[in-house]
Symmetry: C2
Amino acid sequence: MSGATAKSERTRAHVREVAIRMLRDVGYERTTMRAIAVEAGVSTGNAYYHFPSKDALVQELYLDVQREHATLAAPVLAAGGTLAERVRGVWGASVDAFAPFHAFGAEFVSVAIRPGSDASPFSGASTGAREQSRELFEEVVAGAEPAVPARLRADLPELLWLAQLGVTLFWVHDTSPGFARTRRLVAGGSGLVGNVVRLARLPVARGVVDDALRLVRSVHPDVVGDRA
Amino acid sequence: MSGATAKSERTRAHVREVAIRMLRDVGYERTTMRAIAVEAGVSTGNAYYHFPSKDALVQELYLDVQREHATLAAPVLAAGGTLAERVRGVWGASVDAFAPFHAFGAEFVSVAIRPGSDASPFSGASTGAREQSRELFEEVVAGAEPAVPARLRADLPELLWLAQLGVTLFWVHDTSPGFARTRRLVAGGSGLVGNVVRLARLPVARGVVDDALRLVRSVHPDVVGDRA
């Protein structure tokens, strides 16, 4: 690596780090590209050279938080355990990984929830962070003991990922100390997932489970070429 | 009623009507109290005399939309029918009642989702519209044939109301013609509600249903005096 390239990469890493810290500490609205450049001690043009927009830096934040989530979830995923235990561990790890961003979580949600927003977890721009998050739930399902019924194995990771978005929406509004309310939701919700999957093994419940899966598939925003 | 009172009430009704039309046509951000006053041909002071804030006018809009929802849902509620049919009818009526506001639905959601927002469906300010909406689901459950199991009757209206918030969140992001995707969610989701409630009658499913109800009660934001 040439000296110039190494310097450029250091600058990029520095701008990235400053932006993530500012998003966390002063929020989305006040973290402008200009403010990031000032804080990082580079020209605004230089900041734009490395990142085309503020939203690109929001994606870097997502990737950081996602990496932290994966790190905190790793021991849970390595430990085996029942489906409920694994779901609880991974959802719980997300509460810990997101915690430093709670003050501005609501602002992020408010930005991300606008249709077409790059900050949306469903956006094209969020593909990297989304895929990493989904992979955690693939691992949750693949490693569960006893094994998840074959009929559920394909859809369950996606459902658990969607449910985690719901948990996050709940957490953003949670003002209880230590997010006790969200942790109760995680504990109860993961237990419920385990029980529902157990119930889904019974012939009497199969029709309902199949209907539910069909419904999710038919309305899922990722259904390709189907906007009608 | 004195002439002055009648005139004041006419002014109030006019300001209210102008504000709702503006919220629908130009959105939340651009509908300021000043712009409402100009459009209504009254002084800003006069507009404030009738409504303390823009958010008070958003509540008037909620009440209007809620009244329209109740009107559209009335034939469904009068017709008897199964739980699934009634849920489908009332959720479907909400899509019709909300339709004129779709263009700014996302903006409203983005405002309403901020913690502490008066526009939130959970806020103190929204109590009137919320209670009216919940009552629809009380009627859905009370009039279903066959009757909803007694163990579910107390909690189900609230759950159906929460699910309707989910449907609305989905609808805001729905760009399919005629909201076909949301209508598919309503059709499939209401069928699923019917099937799950049927399943809940079976002894084998009772424990799971009871756990689910306990969980909802324990994390519900309305749980009084419990912020821990």
